[in-house]
Every structure is written in C-alpha cells, then in structure tokens.
C-alpha cells in the first residue's frame, strides 16, 4: 500500500494505492489521524487505485467517521465495484456522513457546497 497526500479545494486528500488489509491498516490510520488532529471538517480518500480492502481498512474508515461525524464528513473517491459492494455490506453506504464520489469533480463540488453552508 502506498499513500500520497494532496489537496482538493483546500481539503486534504489521501491517495491510496494497492491493498488495504489487517497488515497495513495502521499505516493508513496514522496518516488519517494526523489530518484529524488538525481539526479538518472533511477528509477525502481517493481509492481509485485500491484493488482490495477488508475489515482492516473498514475499521480505519469507521474510526475516522466517528471522529468526523460531528464536524463534517468522510469522502471517498472512485471505489471499484468490489470495494463499493463491501461498503454496502458493512452498512457504510447508508451512512450520510460517509460520501462516495465518482471522481474528483464530484467531490470538489460537494466540498464547495459544504463550504457555503
């Protein structure tokens, strides 16, 4: 798993590449915690290049979501069909603080709407 950080409309985006499992989830967790500690209202994960994720990764998303819920939301860009199905199975897909976007443009628009309110 490789991580790289950038920004979208002033919001931090972590691009993840590879497989997220119980062996490397803590690396992702640390990267997200660093951003959470800066009091960000929204964090975005670009998972375009994530081929695989299991409850190791889901647990990290759940922890992030728990901390973000009161102040904003967690955004996910471009999960593949299997990862999206996993989000449905674990019940994340119904969570209004967990927002999935097809691409950067859709995420950016949502960020601008959030900034306006």
């Amino acid at each position: 798993m490789e991580l790289s950080t950038s920004e979208l409309a002033g919001t931090p985006v972590i691009r993840i590449r590879g497989e997220i499992d119980h062996g490397n989830a803590s690396t992702l967790s640390t990267a997200i915690d660093d951003l959470l500690n800066t009091e960000q209202h929204v964090i975005i994960l670009d998972v375009t290049q994530v081929d695989y994720m299991d409850s190791g990764g889901i647990s990290v998303l759940l922890s992030a979501l728990r901390r973000l819920r009161e102040r904003g939301w967690l955004g996910i860009i471009n999960p593949n069909a299997n990862v999206q199905r996993l989000f449905q199975i674990v019940g994340l897909a119904l969570d209004s603080s967990f927002r999935v976007f097809d691409d950067n443009a859709a995420a950016e628009q949502a960020l601008r709407e959030t900034a306006r309110t």
């Binding site: 497989e19 119980h22 062996g23 695989y52 299991d54 889901i58 199905r85």
Partner: protein
C-alpha cells in the same frame, strides 16, 4: 450432459504475521481462477480468507505457530480451510472500550460466503471452513 471435473486440493502454510495476508490472497486468487470463480466471488473469498487468517494471527494466541490454508474444489463448491493452533477466546473487556472496530470479521465472513463453519481442533486451535458454490455447470 456430463460436467468436466477439475477437483483439486492445494495448500499453503504461512507464518503467523499479518504481513503474510497479501501472500495468502495471491494463493486464493490462483485457486479461485482454477475453480473459474468470477472476479466478484474471488474478491469475496479473498476477504473472507483474509479475515479468518487475520483472526488466527491476532487472536489465537499461538505466537510462532504457522497458519495453514487448504483449498479444495469438490461437490460443486470451492472450500477453503484455515487452521491455527491456538485457542478460541473472546477479547477481555479490560481494554475493550478503546477498541475502534466492531468485531466485523466473523459477520463479514458469513455475509460473503455461502457457508462458514468454525470448529475446535482436538489439540487446541480453530478450524474455519469457508465455502462458495461454484457457478453451474459445476466444475468439480
């Protein structure tokens, strides 16, 4: 009409470390290809096997003892067994409330598989048997 039969049995043994999960998934991927599973069911099986192996590594309390993964294609199903040589135990509540995750592994295995079987091994240890039905016409 008779079906082609490609019954097989393959196994790997890995060290009890979560860094080995990547390797285990390559094994599952290869076995799933042999059994002609589609990419969706292959993903489901990779997740379920990873969860079972992660549990064996993280919870069985058998540091150093390897985890065995055995795959067999038979009776219209692809069946994968994961064995560890520790003991099945629940987490203590002493630090329990700091846990971020919610015990997703077992329910996720059940949600993804057609059948999950968990048995105690007589010498101590846990055997998890995961099975998925193969698409008709069954190949084994």
């Amino acid at each position: 009409m008779t079906h082609s039969h490609i019954a097989f049995s393959r196994s790997i043994t890995v060290q009890p470390d979560t860094s080995q999960l990547y390797e285990v998934r390559r094994f599952v991927e290869s076995v799933a290809a042999d059994a002609t599973l589609d990419s969706e069911r292959t993903f489901d099986l990779m997740v379920a096997v990873s969860e079972a192996c992660a549990n064996a590594v993280e919870h069985s309390g058998s540091p150093g003892l390897p985890v065995k993964v055995k795959a067999a294609c038979r009776g219209g199903r692809l069946v994968i067994q994961i064995c560890d040589y520790g003991g099945f135990r629940l987490p203590s509540t002493a630090n329990g409330f700091q846990r971020d995750h919610r015990g997703l592994g077992l329910p996720l295995m059940v949600a993804l598989m057609d059948e999950v079987r968990i048995a105690k091994l007589s010498g101590g240890g846990t055997k998890v048997t995961l099975s998925v039905k193969l698409p008709a016409p069954a190949l084994c």
